[in-house]
């Protein structure tokens, strides 16, 4: 089965506001799917629904062939879902290495172990992950004092720690400089393709989106307004209108 994620008619409202309105899409293994849209379009809500933090009002989410209706985040994780957040969430009182070890401990279902010390557990595996995302030099720094870009990488390493089939990344490159952004996205593309992971990500940097995504879906006011390859979305007049704005549209036309 090549579909890691199937979303059908997903709907969620808060009070009177329909944050996600009848959204459907698919994601295949080894592919990067970008979800774009202006602020408040419902991207993060969509993520929180898929990852089990919120319950949908209607619609279905199927991950690796399993309906996840009513699953809590830790159950969704068990299906092989990694997640990074728009505002990074790491364990501030632990070092970079320990953060990843923690994720590995959970993956090996060892969170209730009371005999061995963490110091000796899964160090090599965790170092592998740190190398993969390129922060092995920071292994002993506390996460509380790390630069934002590095925290994003720690999160990525933790999200990869359960050998996920599906990776949900909410603005993976926010807070980074342009050079670091494209470097990180290169790395992510490489990782997901060798590991055959499906990625759903949001991003405000259009260069990143159009360079790295295989497909793009566009949300506006909670509705899916366009879907397709970067070229198709690029050419879509409606998207240019509502999302890129008039000035950007003019710039694109000149090309």
């Amino acid at each position: 089965m090549s579909k890691v994620l199937k979303v059908r008619n997903l709907t969620k409202s808060f009070g009177g506001v329909c944050a996600v309105d009848d959204v459907s899409f698919d994601l295949e293994k080894g592919r990067l799917l970008a979800m774009i849209g202006p602020n408040g379009a419902g991207k993060t809500t969509c993520f929180n629904l898929i990852n089990g933090q919120l319950k949908p009002d209607r619609g279905s989410i199927v991950i690796m062939g399993k309906q996840i209706a009513g699953f809590k985040p830790h159950r969704v994780w068990q299906l092989g879902v990694g997640r990074t957040f728009q505002i990074t969430a790491t364990f501030a009182s632990m070092s970079v290495l320990e953060n990843v070890q923690m994720a590995r401990l959970s993956f090996h279902r060892r969170t209730l172990s009371i005999f061995q010390k963490v110091r000796n557990l899964y160090v090599d595996e965790s170092m592998e992950l740190l190398k993969l995302v390129g922060i092995e030099k920071q292994r002993d720094h506390a996460c509380g004092v790390l630069a934002y870009g590095d925290l994003k990488r720690v999160e990525l390493a933790m999200a990869l720690a359960n050998d996920p089939r599906l990776l949900l990344m909410d603005e993976p490159t926010a807070g980074m400089g342009p050079a670091e952004r494209s470097r990180l996205m290169e790395q992510i593309s490489g990782i997901v393709q060798t590991r055959n992971i499906g990625v759903l990500f949001t991003e405000h940097d259009m260069d990143v989106v159009f360079t790295h995504a295989h497909r793009i879906i566009v949300l506006n006011h909670g509705k899916l307004v366009a879907e397709g390859t970067p070229q198709e979305v690029h050419a879509n007049a409606q998207v240019q209108e509502i999302y890129l704005g008039a000035a950007e549209t003019a710039r694109l036309e000149k090309r």
């Binding site: 068990q78 957040f85 070890q101 061995q116």
Partner: protein, 617 residues
């Protein structure tokens, strides 16, 4: 029918009294996010001040009311002084230090009141013109009860007017919603806080003064009233004034009618209501979830480092000292050392829960006292030998903690803390009221160690082995996956969930582990003292443990030990003064202002370089 109406009115009058204490507390919490433990003390001062003012004023029709108002005003001014001199310095310190500061105030006010007002219970003056009773549907109702109902409604109305019809009130409501935004808009937060603290203190002073004709004044009022006030505030939703009124009404009516069905349930009822409400509506009837969950106790949360070689040497020296102590120490010092060890184990278990676990408990005495009672009951009713009792006690208390924890871990922060307090009060009430089984107020006597452990020195070594073992076991746990997962749950609920950790379940287990170790401490304690009384489960006991942990500092593993030692030593040193609570209170206040990281935290920041492994970077 008339009887039920009278019962209802009595309940309503009680509710009015409760509301008057709770309203200031909820106002202060809503705006300033301060859990003001000294609130009960202000209430007591209000009652005493009004008593003396009324006695001093020429007795005519209005002197009662003038006295009441003047007393409230004086309490308000005391509140302002406390806020400006102390609390203001602590707004940027961790929340727990504010708590400790307010503990200090409780102690100081307690002793000052004893000095100024005397230790005798005072019978309140009658209110002229309202000292009779009226017939209502065939039942006799005191007029003053009806006056209290009216007074509370007037206060509710007045506060509503102030909050909704004045500019100041709008600012207060805005601060309740979002403090930072308000100060970003250029509102002088300091002045607003002082104003709110004045109003809150004024209201509780008024409450204390107004209940004089019903309850008089005594020195136990402060702690007696604070638990009920907190329950009302939490059930109503912290920060919600109508919520406080409704909660006071529900609780008082249930108690008024509950007493008809189950006369022994009076003390438990209030806390049962709270437990039920918090399980159904975790943030109280009208409360809202905190938008930004406040920082856990571990604040910056230093990275946990394994003991360095030097620290191990220090530990070894400590163990050697413990082994050799009986050679030098007299009988009295051994007793003191035994007590320190037991309290260190108990406060380590509280630290375990508060620091790495991120769950602050205001009711740790439930587990300590629970352990003491579990062991004592086993010996008293079943003639269990000491060895078996000490083995079974942690298991029994662990089970108790599993039950209590199941409710508590659904909440976080102050709400969790309040729920632990409620459960501790339930346990205390059961022990206090179930005389046939627990001996009630008289306690359980003659619980002595087995013959082989009877001598002081043998019991000393036994205690040391168990307590050191328990402390080291908890320390070990913190370095294992179990302890790391606890810290993960504390640091970020979001991240824990998204790497597959079931946060609530893990916190539940951690809660039970902490409870079991506190139970062990209680078990040893009862054999060292030979008896147990409900006091071991009382709120003041829980406060003691909190003080020990805070005294030691919540960020250091050695904190609880230092805290317990310092607390016991201080207690012993100054309890020979007549006004030792005053001294203790001042010491706490100086400590929180001067050493916000606690004693051990202070020294470890000074000596960290010496005791940490050289890192090669």
């Amino acid at each position: 029918m008339g009887f039920y109406v009278a019962q209802f009115l009595t309940g309503w009058a009680d509710a009015s009294g409760l509301f008057m204490v709770a309203v200031g507390l909820t106002l202060i919490f809503g705006v300033m996010r301060i859990v003001n433990f000294a609130h009960g003390s202000f209430y007591m001062v209000g009652a005493y001040t009004a008593y003396y003012l009324i006695a001093w004023l020429p007795s005519d029709g209005v002197s009662f009311w003038i006295g009441v108002l003047l007393a409230a005003l004086i309490v308000g001014i005391i509140g302002v002084i406390v806020e400006m001199l102390l609390l203001r310095r602590l707004y940027h310190a961790p929340e727990l230090f504010l708590l400790m500061g307010t503990f200090g105030i409780i102690l100081i006010i307690q002793d000052l009141s004893r000095w100024l007002f005397g230790a005798e219970d005072l019978l309140g003056p009658r209110c002229p013109g309202l000292d009779g009773s009226v017939w209502i549907m065939g039942s006799l109702m005191p007029q003053y009860d009806l006056a209290l109902i009216v007074a509370a409604l007037l206060i509710l109305g007045a506060i509503w007017m102030v909050l909704n019809r004045t500019r100041w009130g709008v600012l207060v409501r805005a601060a309740t919603e979002d403090r930072e935004m308000l100060s970003a808009l250029g509102v002088n937060q300091g002045r607003l806080f002082t104003g709110v603290f004045f109003l809150g203190s004024f209201l509780t002073g008024l409450g204390g003064a107004l209940q004089l004709p019903k309850g008089g004044a005594d020195l136990l009022m402060d702690l007696n009233v604070i638990a009920s006030a907190f329950v009302v505030v939490v059930v109503g939703g912290m920060g919600s004034i109508p919520g406080a009124y409704l909660a006071a009404l529900i609780i008082s009516e249930l108690t008024a009618f509950g007493i008809l069905v189950l006369p022994q349930s009076t003390l438990v009822m209030m806390f049962l209501v709270m437990a039920v409400v918090l399980v159904i509506r975790p943030y109280g009837l009208f409360g809202k979830a905190e938008l930004a969950p406040h920082e856990p106790a571990g604040e910056s949360g230093a990275v946990l480092k394994p003991a360095s070689v030097r620290l191990k040497w220090l530990g070894a020296a400590l163990v050697l000292g413990i082994i050799l102590a009986p050679l030098f120490a007299g009988d009295f010092q051994l007793v003191l050392l035994i007590e320190i060890a037991i309290l260190a184990l108990a406060s380590m278990s509280l630290y375990f829960m508060m620091g790495p676990g991120g769950m602050v408990s205001f009711g740790h005495a439930a587990f300590f006292g629970g352990g003491a009672y579990a062991a004592a009951l086993m010996v008293y009713h079943l003639q269990t030998p000491m060895e078996l009792a000490l083995l079974l006690t942690p298991l029994a208390v662990g089970l108790l903690a599993l039950i209590i924890g199941w409710f508590c871990v659904r909440l976080s922060g102050v709400y969790l803390a309040m729920l632990t307090l409620a459960f501790a009060q339930i346990c205390w009430s059961i022990v206090f009221q179930w005389e046939e089984f627990t001996g009630g107020d008289d306690g359980i006597l003659s619980i002595w160690p087995s013959d082989w452990a009877e001598s002081r020195i043998v019991f000393y070594y036994l205690t040391m082995v168990l307590c050191t073992g328990g402390i080291l076991a908890m320390r070990h746990l913190l370095f294992t996956p179990f302890g790391y997962t606890m810290r993960a749950c504390r640091d970020s609920a979001l991240r824990s969930a998204s790497i597959g950790i079931y946060q609530k379940r893990h916190q539940w287990f951690a809660f039970a582990v902490a409870g079991a170790f506190a139970g062990l401490a209680g078990g040893i304690y009862v054999f060292s003292k030979g008896s147990v009384f409900p006091d071991e489960m009382a709120i003041s006991r829980s406060f003691d443990f909190l003080l020990m942990v805070l005294l030691g500092g919540v960020e250091t593993l050695s904190g609880p030990i230092a805290g317990a030692a310092a607390f016991t030593w201080l207690h012993d040193q100054i309890s020979r003064f007549e006004f030792w609570q005053l001294v203790l209170g001042c010491i706490f206040i100086i400590l929180v202002v001067a050493f916000p990281q606690g004693i051990a935290g202070f020294f470890s920041s000074k000596t960290e370089r010496y005791f940490s492994e050289p890192t090669d970077e």
